[in-house]
């Protein structure tokens, strides 16, 4: 019971507390270490005395004290005299604790984690760790790398931030375009990874709500930026569909076959508002079209409504004007198969740069589906096997496996 309360408190409070400590002390390791110490202390004290009325505030207060202690210990090692230790918080102080008093420095920390001087491959991982509170193991699974590799990457990124003198501030407006692009593309990668990983388990509910909060925060800070608003819309559309993404057996349900009755209508309403705002303040670029694609999918209201394939295809044509790469063309082919038939889709796929798509499981899955529709069963099975061998999420594998088995 107590364990559960602590787990929930840690999950929800961690990013905000770590961000506040990191910005205050300009030290990511110190912030994480102090927060971990506070959690250990909580396990002890809450077991004995019961959990405090505001657990986040309690964790913040104790973590802050640990951070000061660690700093003091460092100063003693450095040969300087220690300050007098802080008094233990009294019962009265704990009663007055209020989590709303913890400074919200997450936005500053996002800009630190997504600084262009941090290796691109590490930015998303660092953001998931510090801003979204995912464990190293969870992030490693999402990125399909061994946990020690990912841990190493985080250590290197944090060292770079400390040693290269990256500033713990939101950059000044002149630097916005470049810095914001780094933030948005990092959040996109982070979100895509976690979204993928979450398909089967649903254990990332906390992460998802963090992402909703983060994008809302970015929109608040930059109300006139269409790309930010479009990204906020995209995340909401995608999150709204989460309850319909897997069936009772944990098998993925493709977007076109999901039951819209299970989608979160209020979240879709929020997304619609963000998207409308994005288009009203300027060209939202590729992100605007991508959000519009999600919006088109979410326009279905009942299971009987057919997917709006012609509109989807039109939007992919528009997306190509902003971003013409094999990945967009592959997605477009899925819509082509529905509107003009599998033969035409397959012809479109065959001219794509296979070298770039070879290791990408959806490439083989889409090809397999076209071949299946054209009754080229043997080739379809081979393509399904390649897709399965490349590996994606468990839910997707189960779905591919079922499709493949249907062909025998």
């Amino acid at each position: 019971m107590m364990r559960e309360a602590l787990t929930i408190a840690v999950r929800t409070a961690q990013p905000r507390i770590v961000a506040a400590l990191a910005v205050r002390f300009r030290d990511l390791d110190l912030a994480e270490e102090a927060f971990a110490d506070a959690c250990l202390r909580a396990a002890e004290v809450w077991e004995r005395d019961g959990s405090p009325s505001d657990s986040a505030a309690w964790l913040y207060r104790v973590a802050e004290r640990f951070a000061l202690q660690i700093l003091r210990a460092r100063r003693i090692r450095g040969g300087l005299l220690p300050d007098a230790p802080d008094p233990e918080p009294t019962v009265e102080a704990a009663m007055c604790d209020d989590a709303s008093l913890i400074p919200d420095d997450r936005l500053r920390l996002i800009f630190v984690c997504c600084h262009p001087a941090v290796a691109a491959e590490s930015r998303a991982a660092l953001t998931l760790r510090l801003i979204c509170g995912l464990s190293t193991g969870e992030i490693a699974r999402a990125f399909l790398v061994p946990e020690p590799t990912l841990a190493q990457r985080l250590v290197r990124a944090k060292r770079k931030i400390a040693e290269a003198g990256i500033r713990f501030e939101v950059p000044e407006p002149a630097a916005w375009p470049e810095r914001l692009e780094a933030v948005l593309s990092t959040l996109e990668v982070a979100y895509a990874r976690a979204h993928e990983d979450a398909a089967g388990t649903g254990s990332h509910a906390g992460f998802a709500s963090e992402m909703l909060g983060l994008t809302a925060l970015l929109c608040e800070l930059l109300p006139r930026d269409p790309e930010v608003a479009a990204f906020a819309a995209l995340v909401r559309y995608a999150e709204a569909r989460r309850p319909a993404r897997v069936d009772g057996e944990g098998i993925m349900i493709p977007l076109s076959e999901q039951n819209p009755a299970l989608w979160d209508r209020s979240l879709i309403g929020e997304a619609d508002a963000y998207l409308e705002h994005a288009f009203s303040i300027g060209s939202a670029g590729a992100r605007g079209v991508q959000a519009a694609l999600h919006g088109a999918w979410c326009s279905r209201l009942t299971h009987d409504d057919p997917p709006p394939w012609p509109e989807i295809l039109k939007l992919y044509d528009r997306l190509l004007m902003f971003r013409d790469d094999p990945f967009v063309r592959l997605n477009r082919a899925v819509a082509v198969a529905e509107v003009y038939g599998a033969a035409m889709a397959l012809a479109d796929i065959e001219v794509l740069d296979a070298a770039r798509l070879e290791g990408f499981a959806p490439y083989h899955a889409v090809r397999a589906d076209c071949l299946r529709r054209l009754s080229r069963t043997k080739e379809a099975i081979a393509a399904y096997d390649t897709a399965l061998a490349l590996g994606s999420s468990q839910a997707e594998k189960l779905w591919l496996q079922r499709r493949r088995d249907e062909l025998r």
Binding site: H115, A117, E163, A164, G165, I166, R167, P171, A175
Partner: protein, 115 residues
Amino acid sequence: MQYALLLYEDETIYGSDRSGPAVKDLLAKHVALRNELGPQRLFSSGLKPTEMTTTVKIAEGNRTVHDGPFAEAREQLAGLYVVDVPDLDAAIAVAKKFPLLKNGSIEIRPLLGAA
């Protein structure tokens, strides 16, 4: 923090004559940047071409003298600034102001022990 800003360029863009109007104009721009940086600039200088470079190699206790730079590369170290600025963003801002003849890269390295 103190940073070294190391400018790399393909030195062939200067051709054989390094006293033409384009180079004079470039030097004038560096003087302007120096003035703008004021006390933030601790040191700066351009470097003579790699033709003038001599390298002392130390391997297994042997010290040998060689003609030319230690490694052949498409871009060569052409000059450096050492600046004392609040943080990396400020150092990046200085690097972005570098006047260049054509293309080049500026490597930003924090100095060891310079907090």
